[in-house]
Each structure stands twice: as structure tokens, then as C-alpha cells.
Subunit: 488 residues, 3 copies
């Protein structure tokens, strides 16, 4: 990685380097009256080094050359060398055609010009995505699904987890990047220079196009699939429908790109989570407008963990207010507020009816020693994981972004089936075995937890103890439906 | 909701209202020699009320203002007030800047100009989608997956079911719309004025663009997912492939939009189910060209229920003839007819091999009291529901629209597994328990039903009773394959 | 099917036929310095027969007429008759308006002009896709999921399998095409003239557009879904993301279409598997650049089967080299080579940890007579099939094309669950039953196979026998994660 003088200062750095001046017209305060515009003064000419790179790579890898040719970098005389140059002492420096370069361009490098963006990004949860390496998911990759067969790493982590979360890029003794850790553009990549992140996770090489990064597919690189189908959810929503129908009218190549000013036919992921509104500047801290975290088993307000730890972070109420500022470009206040009530109601229902009870069941099993210490060697552990990590998230994300099929058929319907048809029977089986093994006291404690759950109003139906009037009303409605639709 | 004089008549309605004349050049008969064109005479100028709305909303919610600015409504001087005005006595009237308006614009409102479309829509199954509220699915939402925690409604219904099917919009005592029932644009919405439907389900606010509504994503708002993946099925089909490759040539913004005249590179959902052909006018009764209903457990011809009830509806043969008129824009008669034979064969196979037997098994269990009265508290109830409601529909929809992967791997493969590996074993388990409980007679009856199924030709293989010659032929073919492909 | 004189020669064929000259400037060697351009000399005018066809079909099926009007065929005066003409003796000849034609245009017909493409295609695995008819999958369609109810064929095969793999098109005694076997455009179709394939599988009628065929949706007709989600995998990958963002810049309508020369913003499926590079000509043998076959339960190098049979085919190393030539248009050598190491590592891990052990378990059950001879009548057979045919392929395809969610959550995560939570318990259940039945020796043999698997390093964790240091390290990492993210 190169260092153009000290990061975040702008000094001439030798006779080859044209003075680069980055002017940030507006400062990066959280909420501003006017959107921030970022103006970067270009180099006067392309450096001799970059000219040399280009002369050869034009033939060797014409795609890169042409992509760069379409980029804003080209217009600003920012060439290969400006980004890839490295110091003799950089851990990942290589000699290439007698020039010190590094293959990886890290956020530290990008921050030479784009310091505000990197600063914001560094505050984000995105930048910490590499912490997955110490998580349960990582154990899945290393132990349960995989094995440490590829330079001491698990191919599942290498090809799976890390491609989104980021690897810890290692330099081999011969100077090569360890192929188990690179190629990698995971958003929380731990770079050889110690910086966190990979700007190319979203801004793909070598055009770094705004249009590409603002499209929903950019986020869909990682935010899709059975466990976090944000892309699919968006596509189902009216926002996504309007995106498809109106993509040519969105002015995706406008630098300013203020919703309600530059476009209004549809929002993309970037619109709501990052981009400028009439009141707010763009931000590269993608969690900045999120009020709930729907990631964990039990949903929390996004600042809850920090508050519990005595940390001061932007309160969820402020984040929600900022998201609502986005909505207000196209929606009236009653609609926005009522939408949030609907969304909250689903999250809370999921939390109270399934997540807390499920967690309580798993906790009492663990506390009473009715599970092995080894995760994922017992069926109920997979069951619980599917419930919250897959189906429960689908339901919550569906509600968050108005995709009813994800809320219902991909979501709550499957949550309920998992809970009643798998989690409860497997819980009971464990208790039966434990009873047989003479663990009477533990079983009694676990049974009490279960009984507490099944006696709560929302679970009474399952034991056939629903109040008579409710049952009668339901049967009547059902009979009417049967007659109307099914003729029986 | 406003009332411009009496609905479906065109009277001056006060000194503020320009005479609105809706001329329908062709009447709305089922089959016509020429496609119907709908000509609406615009207002001479924008009303003072709408000018006032616009002046303020231009700043407050510029998206709406701009969307409207691109709409045909703008060109016709149909402004905010023309649609949102309300009478003092309307149940959902609110005073907004001293003007009586209602937030919801219902089909009754739209019908002031677009009466033919609303009339057609009112005939459709779409308009009755809110009847789900008395169905099994609704019990799923209210009791099994959810609970009545949000203003007496279940958040699962609010965020899930109703967003497609429609809510019953309620007005709170303070005049606000009950947030448990609105925002909602479900296609069968029950509006405060008693009308059914939400035109914005497909024609999204506030541009109401034909292009948007004619694209497949519009229908994909609801017609997608594990239980009715019409969108995914279309995307796999050659029709969907050609749509992607040719969307810019489809003249989606042509008012006439007659397949075979205005476009031919690909059909969208709208083309086949609604839009004009050289012989047929457009229709907003989307079931008008459908011959099968693939929704229920056992597929039926679409008019079967009505006939059984002595009602007179358009016969399925006529509906199929009309659909084939669409096909004929691009396909020859032999292909069209042979396609329908293929499609019918799959539906009938599904019906006879899995749906009727499955239903018979469930019915005998219920009749003999071997199931509780409570739905979804026993595993086999979920199993059967998955079989017909999810996998069985996928198979049938796949065949209906030529998406082989949905017919086979998302469909019949999973139907078969569900039937043989889940439904039958769970049925047997129930009988074993019942036998143990001494219900000998009931068990005998249920066993007889099962035996009848397993002795039928298409199920003989499962008991190892396949005729020898068939087995021999199959083994030979398999051995050849193994040799050819797998080398073992 | 017509025969324009002898195939692959170009003779005047009667006074109606203009001399057709096909000049192939470059020969079709495997690797060439320059990409092959194919120049076909057009007819001087449209034939009288085609004029007559067009005059009537312009009204009867205007879509076909217009599609043809946009095609290159139109410009070259290749009309309906040039492709659809048939000889009196052709098995599928029909008299249509007093002219001998056949409905099906087979690769033999297309080869009159496009002989190189058809020759290449004939070498491909694609052309042999109809061999499925002798496979296990076919038994699924005919026996397990279906029944021979449609002209002696299974509707599941007709609507499912064959629509991708190809049917054996049969001509009924009245001259009609058997509707159970046609319409069909499966890529391995067995045509009445004995030729294999259907060019319209990818080049859709009647425009035969390059743009359409080069788009990923063309391949997605069949390469999608739970068992081979190449389309979904591509869409998740950066290649697919860039396709969406840059489709208008890809010059998809350029005849030459050389990656790195004509376009570089994104590759499509065709780019990597078929299309020209600066070193390679296009090929219609889509397996030509593939090094692994990821189709079978245990992945193999693509030439392994042929080598084992003593056949000479293009070695996998050469195929990989050619694929890397594609990559090099946009990527440097270290990246390409390291990517392949990552990909290989995943395939090998899957093979060694799950595929070989799973296969060994299934094999010992079969050998010891612990399974019936009937496939798919026992749960474990479905379990194993899901593992390799669905989930195992998803994981491998995900790694092959850089879609981490498919590698992990759609792939290895589900492979692991299937293996530990279903395959192993079902295996043990079978052994318990066999033990109960007194098959002591067989059980001992099967137990030995299982023990061998569970004692291998990568499975030790499952029996709780993971070495202490590994467990300790993992628990520490997990505790750190819990603290960091979950606060407990």
C-alpha cells in the first residue's frame, strides 16, 4: 500500500507527485442543512509511472485499462501508480517492473483523497465485518462444514464467509499474498497495513462507477440468500418494482443525487441508507439511519448494546428520524409513521412470541447441562439457528422493507412451523432422554420454562386450551371460507 | 373519498369543477372485432384546489409532485384534489388546510373516469382477495404465527397477508386511519366507502404509469415466493428471457399495445392475462383467459365451482379460446394445442397421483377423529399444506408457463418426496398410535383408504410390487446410464 | 426437415434455390491466433416459396413475421421456406398449402449454413443431454413422481426434464408430431432426422438474436434452481453485478464480440464459456474451457471419465488454460491463479469431507443388502441425493463463480446439516434395524465404514473427540465474539 505523505494531510511527496488537493466544501456533521459535495482537484497530468503501467497493461489486461479509461480517475489523472504505489517498507510491497507497488489498495490508500468516506466507513458496522472470524459462524466454516486444509484455513471460510466479511490478508514469506486470504474484497477485510475494509466491495474495480455502486445489485453481493434476503425483499417491494420500471430516469450518474431533487421514481438501497436527502448529506456509515438491528436472535434497538456498555452513540430515535427524512421525499407523515408502527409490531411480535421463548428454551437446556458443550452436534441447535438466523430474519427484513411474501411465506409461516413442529418436539425429546437418565431436577426446571411459554396467551392454541369464544369465532370464519372458496 | 356527482354519470359538480366527459368508444363486450380504446376528455385547467395542494407539496413531498408531473393525469389537469376530495359526510374525510379530503383514493373514486376498468376489476377474483380474512391462511396469521397485539390485529396479517390481499381499512375515532389497516394497497382492500380493491396495487402512485404496470415486476409484488412463484416461473420461461433481452422494443408506453401489432418480441404477464390482442379488448378481469384454477389442493377448471353452484359464468373453454388468441400472435395452432395437452397432462397427473390421494388420507383422518379439530397442531397438517399449497402449485404453475425447473425440481420432485417420505409415514404413525389407543375400527377404515392408494398402478413401485417387466426395463436403462455417465 | 443438397456442400438445388455460399475465413482449430469470423453470403432474393409463406403468416402469426423481419436471416433473404422445407421422404414432412415442409428445424437443417457451430455443438455434452432418458432422473420422472399417462410418457418428463434435456420427437401415424414429445426445445432433443439438439434452445425463434443468446437469461432457461443455480450464482457474483450496471455498454450486438476488445465492463455466461477472446475463437462446445465437472456426487476433472475409458479428449489443463485466457482480459495472473487455488480447495474439501464418505456409506448399505433394490423408497436415498445433487452442487458452483452466499448458506452449511443431522442418523437407524433383524456381519461391516469416517480429523468434532487445544482456542474466540456482538 502506498502512503502519499501522511494520511489525511496533503503534502508534495517527491518530484513525481503532483500536489493533490482535496477540498471538502461541507464538513461531515451528522445532520446538515445542505448536502455535502466533495470536490477533488485533479492532477495536472498522468504520472510517468502510470503512463508506463498503462502502456503495458493496455495489452496485457485491456479490460482494466479500459475500465480505468471510463472512470473519473482517468479524467483526474489518477493512474495505476497513484493508487498502487508502495513504500519499500510496506509489508506487501512487491517489485514490479522495477517499481514498488502493492496489489492491494486499502482504505488507507483511498483515504488519501476520499478521507471523509473512509472515516465514515470506519465508524460503520461494515468495517467490523471481519470480526466474524471469532464467531459461531466461523466455527461453522472451520470445524463443522470445513477443515483447515488450505494453507491452514478452511476453504469454506475462504470461498464463503470471507468473500463477504473479509479475510485477514496475509503476505507469504516470498512476498506473495497468501491465496487462502486473497483474492478477497470482503467489506471488513483486514489489510496488510492494518486498515479495515475494501472499498472495492461496493465500488468495483477499475471504473469505480457511482452508477454501479448505487444500484441494488451492488449491495446484493452479500445481502441476499436464505439468511438475509435484503435484495430479494427489495425486489419484491414497490420500491424495487419502481426501480426496474424507472432505472433510466434515476440520474444514477448525478454526483449530487439528492432524492426528491435529482430523482424520485424509485429509491435504491443506497438512497435510503446512505445517499443525500434535502436535509442530510451522504454517509458511508450504512447503519446511520437504522433503528432496529434485526441481525441477532432477539431484535434490539440498534443502540441498545452500546448503551448497555455505557458508550455514547447516535440514538436510534435520531437514526429513525433521519430515515424518515428520506421517506418524506415521496411520502406524507401519516403514512411514514403508520408504516413504522406496522414494522415495529412485527418485530415485537417475533421477539415476544418466538425469539425470547426460543432463547429461553435453549438457555435452560444449556444451563442444566442437557446439551453438549459442542455447538451444532445436536439437532435442536440447528433448529434454533434456522429459526432466528434464517426464517426470523426473513420475516423481519420483509416487514422492514415491505415485501409481504418474505414476511409471511418465507418468514413467519416458517418460523411458526420451526417452533411448534421442530423446536418443541426436540426439546421434549431431550427432556424424555434426560428423565430416563435420572436428571429429574434439570428436567423439572426445563419443563417449567416450557410450561410458562405454552401457558401464555399466544401459545394457548397449541395445547388446545384456546378460550371457547375465540375458537368458535374462528371456526365460523373458517366454515364460511370453506363454503366460499372450496365448496366443502 | 370524493364523489363527483353520482358515480358513472357525468354532471357538473359545482362551479369549481370542469365538466369531465368520459367517452368509451367501444363497449366492454367480452369479445370484440376491434380493441377498445378509452378516450377521456381532459379538464380545461387545473382546479384552484389542486393548484394549492401542488404549491405546498412541491416542497413538502417533491417526489409525489414530480411523479404526478410525469403522469397522464397532469396533462389532463387531473390534480390532487380531483382524486382526493371528499364529502363532509365521508367516513374517512379529514380537514387538511381547510379542504375536505380523504387519504385513500378508492376504486369508486377512480371509476369517476375509469369506470370500465373498475367494472371489469369488480368481476375479478382479484377484487375478492380480501376474503382471505375468513380463511385458513388468516388463522395462520392470527393464531398460529401471530397474535392480536396490534390494535386488535395480528402484525403478521398487517405486514404479510393483507399487503397483498388487502385490509379492511378502519377509521379511528379521531379520524385517523387505523395504522393496523393502513398503509395498505392490497388488491382486495375493503375501503371505508365499501368499495373493494386498490388500483394502486398495480398502478403505483403517483405516476400511474402504463409502462410500470405492464412489466412483470408489477404482478411479482404478490405473485412470487414458495407458494405461488409466477414471477420466478415467468423469468425462467422463454417469454421471460425474451422480455429481458427485448424490453426496449416492447413499446410499453403505447396506449393501444396490441400484441402482434405493437410488439411481438416478448409477452409480459399483462399481455396474456389482460391486454389487447387483435381480436380481444383489454380486460381488468385477470382471470378472464384462465382455464384452470391451480390454487386449491385439487386443480379444477376455473368455472367448476360456479357451475356446481348453478351460477352462470364464462365457460373455461371460452377462456382458453381467448388465451389461445393471445398465443396465436406468435405461435401456430399445432404448437398452441399441443402445449395445452402437455400442460393439462401435468395438472391431471398431479391431481390423480398426489392431490386426490393426499386429500383422501387427510379426510379419513378427520372423519375418524384421528386428528384434533385444531388445524396446524399436528405435523401431518403442515406436511399436507406444503404439498398442495407450496410444492404442488409450483409444479402446476411451472407447467402452465413453461418453466421446467419449477415443474420438476421445485415442483414434482418435492411433491413426491413430501408424499412418500413425509405424508405416508406420518399417516402410518397416527394409525399406530390410534391402534395403541384401541380405535380399531377407525384404523381399519384409514388403512383401507391407504391400501386403495398404494395398490393403484402409479404407486405400486413404492411397495416393491412393480410388475417384473417394468422393473427389468428400468434397471436396464439405469445400468446403461450408469455406464455412460458415471463409469460404474 | 429440409436438405439443401448434401449437408456441408453447397450446390444449386433446383431453379428455386439461389446459390448459398458459406465461407469460413478461419478454420475451426481448437486454439487460434485470431478469432474466427463467420461470413455467409446471402441469397440474392427471397424465394417465391418464402414470399408466399410470409404473405399469409404476416396476418396469421404476425409475431413470427416481425421477429423474422428483425433477424439477420431477413437481410440475407433466408425465409421460412429455406429452413422449413422438407423432402417428400422426410419422416416428419407435412403438406402445408401444397408445399412440403417440416415444423421442426433441426441442427442438420441449420448446418446447411452454420456447419461449424453445429459441428462444435455436436462435440459438446449439451448435445448428449437427451441421454437423461436412461438415467435415475428419468426414473424419478416416470415412476416416482409421475406415471406413463400421456401417450405413454410421463407428464413430468414432458413438462419438466425434457424441456431442458430434450425429448425424442415422435411423429404420429397421422403425420402430426406427438404432443407428448413436442413442443420441445430441449438442448439434447433427438430429432426425427436423427440429429441431436435444438439450436432454438438458446437462439430463440424467430429472430435468432445474438444479443438474446449472449445474455445470461438464455442459459438460465435451464441452469437455475435448487440443483444447479448457475444463473443465481452468476447474478450474485461481481460479474453479474457489473452486467446489470453495464449491459448497455457490452456491445452485445457486435459480431466479433471479443472480450477485452469489444467490451470489458462485464462478462456473461457466453463470454467465459463460449465467446471469442483475443487468443481463442468462439466455440459452441460449452465444456471446452471447464476443468472440473461438478455435476456428479464426487467432483472429477472433466476429462477423468474419458481418460479412464482410454479416450483422447482435450485435457483439463488445456481447458483451464483457455478459461484463464478469458480471465486475463481483465485480471492479472496472480489473481487468476490464486482464484483457482481457492476454487479447487473448496471442491476438494467437499469431495473429501462429505462426498466420498457419503458415497462410502451408501455403497456399504447397498453392498450389504441393507437397502432395497428400489431407489427412492427409503429416506436415506433422498437424503443422499439432496446432499450431492442439490446442496453439494450449489456449494461448488458458488465457489466456481464467486458467489459466497451460494457457497456457504445455500451450500456447505446445508451440506453439513444434511450429513450430520440426516445422513448419519438415518444410517444408524438402518443399522439398528438390521441388528434387530440379526444381520450382524453386515452391520459390523457398515459400522466399520462409519467409524473410519468419524475418526478422520475433519469429523472428530462430531463425536466430541476434538483435541483439547483446538477446542480451547475455539471457545476463546467464541467467547470474544459473544462479548463483542451479543453482550453475553
Amino acid at each position: 500500500m502506498k502512503r502519499l505523505g501522511k494520511p489525511f494531510t496533503f503534502l508534495p511527496a517527491g518530484n513525481w507527485l503532483v500536489l493533490l488537493v482535496c477540498l471538502f466544501i461541507f464538513s461531515a456533521g451528522a445532520v446538515q442543512a445542505e448536502p455535502r459535495a466533495l470536490i477533488l482537484k485533479p492532477f495536472k497530468q498522468l504520472s510517468d509511472e502510470s503512463k508506463e503501467c498503462a502502456a503495458c497493461h493496455k495489452d496485457k489486461s485491456p479490460g482494466i485499462y479500459q475500465q480505468w479509461g471510463r472512470s473519473k480517475h482517468f479524467g483526474a489523472n489518477v493512474g495505476c501508480y497513484e493508487c498502487h504505489q508502495a513504500k519499500e517498507t510496506d509489508i506487501d510491497v512487491i517489485k514490479h517492473e522495477n517499481v514498488n507497488i502493492s496489489v492491494i489498495v486499502s482504505p488507507k490508500d483511498c483515504a488519501q483523497c476520499h478521507n471523509t468516506e473512509v472515516e465514515e466507513f470506519s465508524q460503520s458496522h461494515h468495517s467490523k465485518a471481519g470480526q466474524i472470524m471469532g464467531s459461531l459462524d466461523n466455527m461453522l466454516a472451520e470445524v463443522i462444514e470445513g477443515a483447515l486444509t488450505f494453507n491452514g484455513e478452511s476453504p469454506v471460510a475462504v470461498n464463503g464467509c470471507w468473500q463477504c466479511h473479509g479475510s485477514e490478508v496475509k503476505v507469504l514469506s516470498n512476498g506473495d499474498l497468501d491465496p487462502a486470504t486473497w483474492p478477497n474484497t470482503g467489506i471488513g477485510r483486514i489489510n496488510p497495513d492494518g486498515s479495515l475494509g475494501a472499498c472495492t466491495a461496493c465500488h468495483q474495480r477499475h471504473e469505480f462507477s457511482m452508477v454501479q455502486a448505487r444500484r441494488p445489485e451492488a449491495c446484493g453481493k452479500c445481502h441476499l440468500g436464505p439468511d438475509h434476503p435484503q435484495k430479494e425483499v427489495y425486489e419484491e417491494s414497490k420500491h424495487g418494482i419502481n426501480f426496474q420500471a424507472n432505472v433510466d430516469r434515476l440520474n444514477l450518474d448525478s454526483s449530487k443525487w439528492i432524492v426528491g431533487e435529482d430523482y424520485d421514481a424509485a429509491p435504491t438501497c443506497a438512497t435510503c441508507h446512505m445517499s443525500a436527502t434535502r436535509e442530510l448529506p451522504i454517509t458511508h456509515d450504512v447503519g446511520d439511519r437504522i433503528s432496529w438491528t434485526l441481525r441477532p436472535a432477539i431484535s434490539e434497538k440498534v443502540d441498545a448494546k452500546a448503551l448497555a456498555q455505557g458508550k455514547k452513540v447516535k440514538p436510534w430515535q435520531d437514526r429513525r428520524r433521519d430515515m424518515q427524512a428520506v421517506c418524506s421525499a415521496c411520502h406524507g407523515k401519516p403514512m411514514i409513521e403508520s408504516f413504522y408502527k406496522q414494522f415495529d409490531s412485527l418485530v415485537e411480535l417475533y421477539n415476544e412470541k418466538f425469539a425470547r421463548p426460543g432463547k429461553a428454551l435453549m438457555t435452560v437446556l444449556a444451563q442444566e447441562g442437557l446439551l453438549t458443550a459442542q455447538p451444532f452436534d445436536e439437532k435442536i441447535e440447528w433448529t434454533w439457528f434456522y429459526l432466528w438466523h434464517h426464517e426470523g430474519r426473513r420475516a423481519r427484513h420483509g416487514a422492514a422493507m415491505m415485501a409481504p411474501d418474505y414476511t409471511q411465506w418465507h418468514g413467519m409461516y416458517e418460523v411458526a412451523e420451526r417452533f411448534y413442529m421442530e423446536l418443541l418436539p426436540e426439546f421434549n425429546e431431550i427432556l424424555e432422554q434426560a428423565e430416563h437418565d435420572g436428571k429429574t431436577e434439570s428436567v423439572a426446571k426445563a419443563r417449567a420454562v416450557l410450561a410458562g411459554i405454552l401457558e401464555s396467551a399466544e401459545h394457548l392454541w397449541f395445547s388446545g386450551n384456546e378460550p371457547d369464544d375465540v375458537r368458535t369465532a374462528r371456526k365460523k370464519a373458517q366454515a364460511e371460507f370453506q363454503k366460499r372458496y372450496l365448496g366443502n
